[in-house]
Amino acid sequence: MMRKVLDVKGLSKVYGKGCPYCRDATGPRFNTNICPHCASVVAVHDISFTLYEGEILGVMGESGSGKSTVVKCLYFDETVDGGTAHFFDNHGQYNLFDLFSLNAAQRRWLRYRRFGMVYQNPHLGLNFGISAGGNIAERLLMNGMLIYADIRKRTSELLQRTEVPENRMDDLPGHFSGGMQQRVQIAKALATNPPLLFLDEVTTGLDVSVQASILDLIIEIQDQLKTTMIVVTHDLGVIRLLAGRTIVMKNGRIIEAGLTDQILEDPQHAYTQRLVASAL
């Protein structure tokens, strides 16, 4: 029996003061997400989807379509303006979290213990002032691991899993290559074995061979840990290799959702057809 992990309904986020016309005057029909009346940006509107344990959901769309905003809202990097999201913690003491009505302490608890996030920009996910190992140790400390030897052991396990040479554990992330910084971010995100992982354009900007190894790592993690993931990317190749289901966004709205191979081979919406045709 498949277990639900996340249920998002009607998620909305507007940057700016907003007006009563914002939602009706933006979207794919008008080919913009900027309200002509008040100039607010309707970053996402009415986003709904359900995630089951162990699945990878792809979120695809061009720059500015709102795909990163979706995961940022769910990871509490952004506040939301509407909608609900329920997280089902199948392994924890509590089993249901109404994400957008939690207090700061509860949000922090989820961020540190149940969610993992890997950003496109390693500067957002890592503290560049402390060593790679220190970054991971920080997460473990917050999670209640207090014995130095245990932390060191777990950190080295995580770096080994993400193929970061163990002897670089005490180096600053700034001294690493881009691909290795992403690996440290993934190691940090995995530190607490989170059931839900957000990956925001993790392979963008990396060279092709490094991209391939990061994708391999993600699949391996999913095979072994059954981590549920949301993968945000504009790269159709990444979507094809990773995601079982995909949603396509444009101007802050979902315009199409389906099985990934169906989205790529039999796209229904005019925009998706153009997107797929221009990529192949």
Binding site: M2, A212, L215, D216, R240, L241, G258, L259, D266, R274
Partner: protein, 230 residues
């Protein structure tokens, strides 16, 4: 045939609407046929008759426009693959329905043996057990052992096709869709591939296949359905 079919297709139609050109292209119209367990059903017809489209519609890579695709699942339920929700389709794909196409999509760095074993890993089998089973299949398909640890993206067309076939049959699906599974194989490996397909059939799998070679159809098929251009 008295047993109820594994797959029953009723009035299946598929067309594509190209928004850019405002044009509709029909690829299959009002197709009906049945697939039984322990039998190989072949679809034959000229290019453009919609043979591959029908396989893809059954696998739901294509969304059928009309008709029903009734599949009798291992749990004894009848599922309409044309309208079932995506999670049901994904669950069936991982446990019951296999699809072998002419093209192989694999992770760039994954060793061939893991590509073949990947359906087993997804079911929770350990790496050692998965590799053992995959190795046995690769041996039978004459993939030299020194290639097993390499990514199949570097392989020849025929080798890739064998990897694809091995991946498709390793999970012992209840329904197997084959789209020209031997198109780029030589005589010897074609023979081995066909033998494995026949074995799977005898174990109970219902097979729906497209072969480009009329001799293969005659040799392999228990039932043949002729399709015409829509």
């Amino acid at each position: 045939m008295t047993t109820s079919p594994l797959l029953q297709i009723e009035g299946l139609s598929k067309s594509f609407f190209m928004h850019d050109q405002q044009k509709e292209v029909s690829s299959a119209r009002e197709v009906s046929f049945r697939v039984h367990s322990k039998r190989l059903t072949a679809l034959v017809g000229p290019t453009g008759a919609g043979k591959s489209s029908i396989l893809k519609a059954i696998y739901r890579t294509y969304i059928p426009c009309k008709g029903q695709i009734l599949y009798r699942s291992a749990a004894g339920k009848t599922v309409d693959l044309a309208s079932a929700d995506e999670h049901t389709i994904l669950a069936l794909r991982s446990r019951e329905i296999g699809f072998v196409t002419q093209f192989l999509f694999a992770l760039p760095r994954q060793p061939a043996i893991d590509v073949v074993a990947s359906p087993l890993y997804r079911r929770g089998l350990s790496k050692a057990d998965g590799r053992q089973k995959a190795g046995a299949l690769l041996q039978r398909l004459h993939i030299p052992e020194h290639l097993w640890s390499l990514s199949p993206t570097t392989f020849s067309g025929g080798e890739r096709q064998r990897i694809n076939l091995a991946r498709g049959i390793i999970g012992r699906p209840r329904l197997l869709l084959l789209d020209e599974p031997t198109a780029s194989l030589d005589i010897r490996t074609t023979g081995d591939a066909l033998e494995m397909i026949t074995e799977l059939k005898n174990e109970g799998t219902g097979i729906l296949a497209i072969f480009h070679d009329p001799d293969l159809v005659q040799k392999m098929a228990d039932t043949v359905y002729q399709l015409d251009r829509p």
